[in-house]
């Protein structure tokens, strides 16, 4: 319900004397503090006042009210556009450069509309059965004729300026207003094409869904080489920093949602890493995007930088960074060609940058401590003794101590996370109903829930639950004042390395492979992770990291196996001994 529209009504509420009015769907004023609905209704004088210029651009001409109950005529793709717009805004607020919204995402979206034949083309799908009035010669002016100019379009409706661009003209014209089909469709959806959209199954066309919006966001982030990984993005979604669940509730008042729109815009699940990852590739391939800007060593997504970030995050010594860099070099995982996403390559695949970086750290931990529930503890004993004797020196890294501190911190974090999830409120202030008949019931039920919540909120523990967390790419903080939590960043690895000539060797000369055989069949996973088969330390480390990334443990295990595959393939093919000696012990 839009508050702006009710601003001119200044009387006091008869029930609570507040002056805070909103408009109900029927156009009546209601008090936002006590929900008292007045008999006064707003006269619809100015239909041109629409709070968002972007929607205005697409909507002009469509915005013809048949009556105040039904709201505007709008298409599903407009809804998604609105959500993408909001998501881009949210990303901008998180510190992402404004080009992402204005250029990259906007262009991806336009390209999508064109490829899926919804706009910017000769025969948009909406025109089925209607007569389109598209000026053919206008189309040839489109920027979309030539590929290299993909990101050169400056006249974008995403720009705040509200400048009317050439492409907007196409859009408008290619959405013919046909009231003929209204009578049948409006029964089951608020949008014009909701029913048709939910039934549409066209081969080769990627249909827009809620998860797909995040795929678009991630693609733009990747294109811009922004310092937000996929797992960060999804975590921000879960923490409500990026609109996703109930994103539709911020639609303009007149964009009514119900019926089939529920299934399209309503979500009752958080996005899943694997799913969005696959959708990203799917969308990129569908859009036929060229090779993405290169991921070089100075990019955030480069494993060397990400490894540093995750080492800090999990409180491991900075000295480990040189080892991760070494592994990155040996495996070739830092190569530009390996890292850069190229959707038109034969096998379009992108690197799971965050998962890979974490997997590299796991491999390094295995190299140093073996993680067989034995060696890491005896090395810890040595470190402990050494640290007791030499209190002034830089302390040796003590795995046991690290484990104890991490375990506690991790358990706490996880507990909080689970509790926060259990308390998550899924339902929007704007209930989604199935049809107009159900509308009063849905609203009444909403009111009921709100009333009950109001009653119980007085019974809740008075200590506030820290409110909304401010977004951060870090989830742990080790450099704070807290003396209970030792910071291991400055600890040395001297206890687990030994000098040999010019180079350093790991004291531990053994290694075990996380996976011995890779699955060659056509299933999606390369290996399986059966927890009980692995050492407790390994399990702990996988659990810790997969929690940080909010992914399944098996996914990380797979990635560890893939890193190992790269690392030891080289070792086997080259007979010459390297500076580091590693033996492979099979388990």
């Amino acid at each position: 319900m839009d508050l702006e529209e009710a601003e001119e009504f200044k009387e006091r509420c008869t029930q609570c004397e507040a002056v805070s009015w909103g408009l109900t769907d029927e156009g009546k004023y209601y008090c936002t503090s006590c929900h008292n609905v007045t008999e006064r209704s707003k006269e619809v004088i100015n239909t041109e006042v629409i709070p968002h210029a972007q929607i205005k651009a697409l909507n002009r001409g469509l915005k013809r009210k048949n009556n105040s109950e039904k709201g505007w005529d709008w298409y599903v793709c407009e809804g998604f556009q609105y959500i993408l717009y909001q998501q881009a805004e949210a990303l901008k607020n998180l510190g992402v450069g404004p080009e992402l919204k204005n250029d990259v995402l906007h262009n991806f979206w336009k390209r999508y509309l064109q490829k899926s034949k919804q706009a910017y083309c000769k025969n948009p799908v909406h025109t089925t059965g209607r007569k389109p009035t598209v000026l053919e010669d206008n189309l040839s002016h489109s920027d979309w004729a030539s590929e290299p100019e993909l990101l050169s379009d400056v006249n974008s409706p995403f720009l705040e300026s509200g400048m009317e661009s050439q492409s907007d003209v196409h859009t408008r014209k290619s959405f013919p207003i046909s009231k003929a089909s209204q009578s049948e469709t409006s029964v089951c959806s608020g949008s014009l094409d909701g029913v048709e959209y939910s039934q549409r199954k066209e081969k080769g066309i990627v249909k827009m869904t809620m998860p797909q919006t995040l795929a678009f966001c991630y693609l733009s982030l990747l294109w811009q080489r922004e310092a937000i990984t996929l797992s960060d993005l999804l975590r921000f979604v879960e923490e409500d920093h990026i609109p996703y669940i109930n994103a539709f509730q911020h639609f303009p008042e007149q964009m009514k949602l119900y019926g089939r729109d529920r299934g399209i815009f309503g979500t009752e699940s958080w996005p899943n890493y694997d799913d969005i990852y696959k959708k990203t590739i799917e969308v990129a391939t569908f859009l036929d995007l060229p090779r993405f800007p290169e991921i070089t060593e100075d990019c955030y997504l480069h494993p060397n930088i990400l490894c540093m970030k995750y080492l800090m995050e999990v409180n491991l010594p900075d000295e480990m960074h040189s080892l991760t860099c070494h592994v990155v070099k040996m495996t070739g995982m830092g190569e530009v060609d390996f890292l850069t996403f190229d959707p038109i390559a034969k096998m379009a695949k992108t690197v799971k940058y965050d998962v890979q970086a974490v997997a590299i750290i796991v491999v390094v931990l295995k190299l140093l401590f073996l993680l067989d529930d034995n060696l890491e503890w005896s090395l810890s004993n040595l470190a402990e003794k050494h640290n007791e004797k030499n209190k002034k020196d830089k302390p040796w890294f003590d795995f046991r101590k690290w484990y104890q501190i991490m375990k506690k911190a991790f358990d706490e974090k996880k507990q909080n996370w689970e509790e926060a999830r259990a308390k998550y409120l899924w339902k929007s202030e704007k209930p989604l109903y199935y049809s107009y008949v159900d509308k009063p019931v849905a609203y009444k039920k909403r009111e009921m829930v709100v009333n009950l919540q109001k009653q119980f909120s007085t019974l809740v523990d008075s200590t506030p639950t820290a409110g909304k967390k401010s977004p951060s790419s870090f989830q742990f903080n080790w450099t704070g004042e807290d003396t209970e939590r030792t910071c291991f960043h400055g600890h040395s690895l001297q206890g687990v390395l030994k000098e040999k000539g010019q180079s350093l060797l790991t004291k531990n000369s053994l290694y075990w492979l996380s996976t011995q055989k890779f699955c060659r069949c056509y299933c999606t996973h390369v290996t399986t992770y059966e927890e009980s088969n692995y050492s407790l330390s390994y399990q702990f480390i996988l659990n810790l990291f997969s929690f940080l990334l909010r992914i399944k443990t098996s996914l990380l295990h797979e990635e560890v196996s893939l890193v190992e595959k790269e690392l030891f393939k080289k070792k086997y093919s080259v007979t010459k001994k390297k500076s580091k000696s590693k033996k492979v012990r099979r388990y």
């Binding site: 409120l425 899924w426 019931v441 039920k445 009921m448 829930v449 019974l459 809740v460």
Partner: protein, 450 residues
């Protein structure tokens, strides 16, 4: 507050809902198959996060309740209300009842809660869906009773009683009966108070007739309210008891007996020992013939052989003329002492000691053996161990003597319990013990005289 009846009338048209019902021929229904088909229908897709988090939320609430953390529970409850809007219509319909149960529990104990809060909550919950109106009303009334608010409770029950909505179902009809009966019970309570008032008044007191009139009125209303319920099979002890008390007070003995007999003997009613106890006590008050009393207690004996009335039953049987009753009298005594809770019942032991002697003197050795055969493997260690001899003697010498006598009769004079007691030199009991020794020698069932 308006209610949500229109929602139930409307068609259940949820696009997310998978409607599958697995019915095979002849109306057979396999619940497991249903569950299996449902998972197939969603293509092995994982549960929605909404379902996952709300079920996690539920277990957090339950955990908090278990630990008496009312504030935490209220915090989770805040989120759990959203299940009322669950898109899964099955879960949505189940939600009000769960929320009512958890919420009322929280409000019952929460330090910041009060009667007013509870009333608001109850009134809200009554009107979410019509399915729970009566149940919540009843529980609401019980809550008010608990807080001593009799009048409010009564008003609540009256409201619920007159509430009519939608179709009448049999389960709802029973609920209405229960509600009426509770109302009756409250009226009984007032009546009972008035009655004691009346008993304190002099008949010539000017207030007497007014109070008496009052008492009469109440009784009439109550009987109407309660009598409907107690005709329905079920356990209605407090209702039956108060109803009968009122009937008796007004001299309607036949009516009272009919109610009690029906309550005890109607096969549709669940087996209920109290029903027989009430009937027995009533008959006893009415000085009913012994045979009638015996027949009532015989049934109680079958249900609760350890009941304290069994000793009375034994006395009745002993006094009877029939030989089969005499035999049953022995059975009853043995039966009582089979129970761990009765091992220190001195009366039971005294009766058994006396009765055993009498039976054995009457040459009914077979009866005793019949009872003893099934017990000789465990009674010696259960009752007659050396340990018991010592502790019984220390605690209650009289009990020890009775037990020793029984032990001697059943196990012979070599029995450890018997020997231990014999050895104790007690001045007062000395004579008794000597007599006992003689009797054992003469009558013990392991007597080598055979």
């Amino acid at each position: 507050m308006s209610d949500f009846s229109e929602e139930l009338k409307g068609p259940v048209t949820d696009d997310e809902q998978v409607e599958t019902s697995v019915l095979s021929g002849a109306g057979m229904h396999f619940p497991w198959l249903q569950a299996y088909v449902e998972t197939v229908a969603i293509g092995g897709k994982r549960k929605k996060d909404f379902a996952q988090t709300t079920s996690a939320c539920l277990s957090f609430i339950q955990e908090a309740l278990l630990k008496h953390q009312w504030q935490q529970a209220a915090g989770y409850m805040y989120s759990y209300f959203q299940t009322l809007e669950d898109s899964d219509s099955y879960k949505r319909q189940a939600a009000p009842e769960i929320i009512w149960k958890l919420g009322s529990e929280i409000l019952f104990y929460h330090p910041k809660s009060n009667v007013e809060t509870f009333n608001t909550f109850a009134d809200r919950m009554k009107n979410i869906g019509i399915m729970n109106y009566l149940k919540i009303s009843l529980q609401h009334a019980l809550y008010l009773l608990h807080h001593g608010m009799l009048e409010d409770a009564k008003r609540n029950l009256s409201e619920a009683e007159t509430w009519r909505h939608g179709e009448k179902t049999s389960s709802r009809e029973i609920l209405i009966n229960v509600i009426q009966a509770y109302k009756g019970l409250l009226q009984y309570y007032t009546w009972s108070k008035k009655k004691t008032e009346l008993s304190k008044l002099d008949k010539d007191d000017y207030a007497y007739s007014a109070v008496a009139q009052d008492v009469f009125n109440h009784s009439w209303k109550t009987s109407v309210n309660i009598s409907a319920l107690i005709k329905i099979p079920g356990v209605w002890d407090p209702f039956v008891k108060s109803y009968v008390e009122m009937l008796e007070f007004y001299g309607d003995r036949d009516g009272a007996q009919e109610v009690l007999t029906n309550y005890a003997y109607d096969e549709k009613f669940p087996s209920n020992p109290n029903a027989h106890i009430y009937l027995y006590n009533f008959l006893k008050r009415q000085k009913a013939p012994r045979s009638k009393l015996i027949s009532v207690l015989k049934i109680l004996y079958q249900i609760v052989p350890s009941h304290k009335l069994m000793l009375e039953f034994h006395t009745l049987l002993r006094k009877s003329e029939k030989e089969e009753h005499h035999k049953l009298g022995l059975e009853v005594l043995f039966g009582v002492l089979d129970f761990a809770g009765c091992t220190k019942n001195i009366t039971a032991w005294k009766y058994l000691a006396k009765y055993l002697k009498k039976i054995l003197m009457g040459n009914h050795l077979v009866w005793v053996q019949e009872e003893w055969n099934s017990r000789k493997s465990w009674w010696p260690s259960f009752h007659f161990s050396y340990f018991w001899a010592k502790s019984d003697w220390k605690e209650d010498t009289a009990l020890a003597c009775e037990k020793a006598f029984v032990a001697g009769l059943l196990l012979g004079k070599g029995c450890r319990y018997f020997r231990y007691i014999l050895k104790q030199d007690h001045q007062i009991l000395g004579k008794k013990i000597k007599r006992m020794k003689r009797s054992v020698k003469k009558y013990s069932i392991v007597n080598p005289r055979l």
